[in-house]
Symmetry: C2
Subunit: 299 residues, 2 copies
Amino acid sequence: MDITNGLGVPQETLDAEIKSFFESAPPLKNSDDIGNGEARRVVCVTSGGTTVPLEQRCVRFIDNFSSGHRGATSTEYFIKAGYAVIFLYRRGSYQPYCRSLPEDPLLECFEYTDESSIRVRESHSEAVKKAISEHHAAVAEGFLLKLPFTTIFEYLQMLQMVATSLRSLGAHAMFYLAAAVSDFYVPWKSMAEHKIQSASGPLDMRLVQVPKMLSVLRKDWAPMAFCISFKADMALKKYKMHMVVANELLTRKDEVVVVTSNEKILVHRDKTEVGDVVENPLIRVIVERHSAYVEKSDI
Amino acid sequence: MDITNGLGVPQETLDAEIKSFFESAPPLKNSDDIGNGEARRVVCVTSGGTTVPLEQRCVRFIDNFSSGHRGATSTEYFIKAGYAVIFLYRRGSYQPYCRSLPEDPLLECFEYTDESSIRVRESHSEAVKKAISEHHAAVAEGFLLKLPFTTIFEYLQMLQMVATSLRSLGAHAMFYLAAAVSDFYVPWKSMAEHKIQSASGPLDMRLVQVPKMLSVLRKDWAPMAFCISFKADMALKKYKMHMVVANELLTRKDEVVVVTSNEKILVHRDKTEVGDVVENPLIRVIVERHSAYVEKSDI
C-alpha cells in the first residue's frame, strides 16, 4: 500500500523532491547564527518575499513583492504577549517597531545643525525614539532574533534549521508564516552560470514548482509546533495548519478572517482607537488558541 | 530606400516598437517632480536595477540585481566637479554619501542612552555625519535632484522626460547610464491582471525584448548630450555612445576600462591612498572628455 499524505502525490516522490530541492540549493552562509531554542514560548515569524535567482551569479531574479508589514507588526505584538520571536525576514523589508518611519529614515529623519551635530527632526522624533529604543530593548533582552534571507533557497534552508531547532519545544513553539514564498524556482545546478545573454527574439523560461514544504514542516521538522499560514487555498487541511489567516488585498490592514478546523473568526482593528492595527486583536486571538493548544498537549 | 539606424531593423519598426512600449506602460505617477534643466552642466546618473512586473497588481516581478554603488559614488564625484546631478535611482539602492553606512543605518548606527536620548554610536559617527551633512547640503544647494524608480516602465518614462528636458542644454548635458536595465519585459496590457495562479506543473513564461532606447536617446531625446554607457557589447557604435565603461565583476571596484572612438583608457584607483575609489579617477577622465566635447561644440 502506498503511503499518502493528502497532497495527491506519493510520499516517496515528495521526499525525493524535497531532498533534491535542498541538494540543489547553494550552501547557506550564516548557519552558525541560528542557535537552539530555550524552553519557553517561541514563535518563528516569517516576513517579506523570497527571490528566485535565474542565474548562478545572480543578476536577474524573480521576486515576490511583500513589504513585510504584517510580519514586522505581528512581531511587536508577539513580544508584547511574552513570546520570544525568531524573525526570519527578507533583507530590506519592514522591521519591527519601524513601521512609522519614512522610506529612507537616515536621510529623512535627521538634520545637521549649525553646531555641527546631528539632530532628529521634530516631525519624526517619536517614530525614531520608538524604533531605536523598543527595537534595541527587544534584541538586548533576548526577545528578538533577526535572521535575514533573500532567496527561496536561503528561506527554506533557514526555516528547516529553525524548525528542527524548535522541535524540542514541542507545543510551545509556533510558526507564523507571513512570508510571500515563491511557488516556482530554477534548480541551482540547471541554472545558467553567467548572465542570460540578451539575443534577439523573445525569452522563454521554464520554472519548476517548489515542493510543498509546509507539510514537511508539520510532519517532520516540528510536528508538535502550532502552525499558522497565510495561504487561503485549503492550507488548513492540505498542510495540516492549525490556523489560516485570510485577507483581502484592499482591506488587509483593517480586517482578516482566522480559520481553524471548527471556527471562522472575523478579526478587525478597533477603529475608535487612533493607531490601532489589526495585528493587535489578531495576535490576541492566536495567543489564546495557542495557549489552549499548549494546555491540551501538556495533559 | 529604407532609412536604417545601424540596429539592423527598419526605423519605422523601431519607432513603432518604442511608441508601443510607452503606450503599453502604466501612467507615470510623479511626472510633476521633474523640472526643467538650467543652463549649466547637468549629468543624469542612472543607478540600480529595474524590475519587470509579471502581473498588473504586481506580486511577482523579475528584477535585475544592482546595488547602485557605482551610480551613487559617481554622483558624489560629479557634484565635486561642479555638475548638477539628476540621480535617477532604484528605490532602496545605494544613495550618494551613504556608501560607508551599514545595511540598516537607523537600527545599527544609533543607540538609546540612559538619559532617554538618541546618540550616534562612536563607530559610525563619521559615516553618519558625512551622509547627513553632505547629502543634505547637495540637495539644499540644488546640486542633487533625486528621482526614484522601480519598474522598467517608470525608468524609461522618466529617462525620456529628463532627456527631453535637458535637450535645451545641448552639449552641456551628460547621461551616465549606470543602471542595470532589464532586457526583456511583459507588455502591461498583455499582463495577467491578478496573481498568476500556481497550478501543478511547470510555469512557462514568454518575455519580449525591451526596444533599444539608447539609440532614441541619442537621436531624438537629447541628440547633443554626451552619453556614457556601461554596456560593453558594441554600445559605442551601435548606440552612438561617446564613451563606454567596461569592467569585470571581480575587479570592478579597483579598475575599469574607458573606451572612446579612438582610445582605450585603463582607469584604476590609487591603492596607495586609503579609501580611494575608482570613481574618483573615472569621473576625472569623463569630465575632461566632456569639457573637450563642450568646447568643440561651442565653436
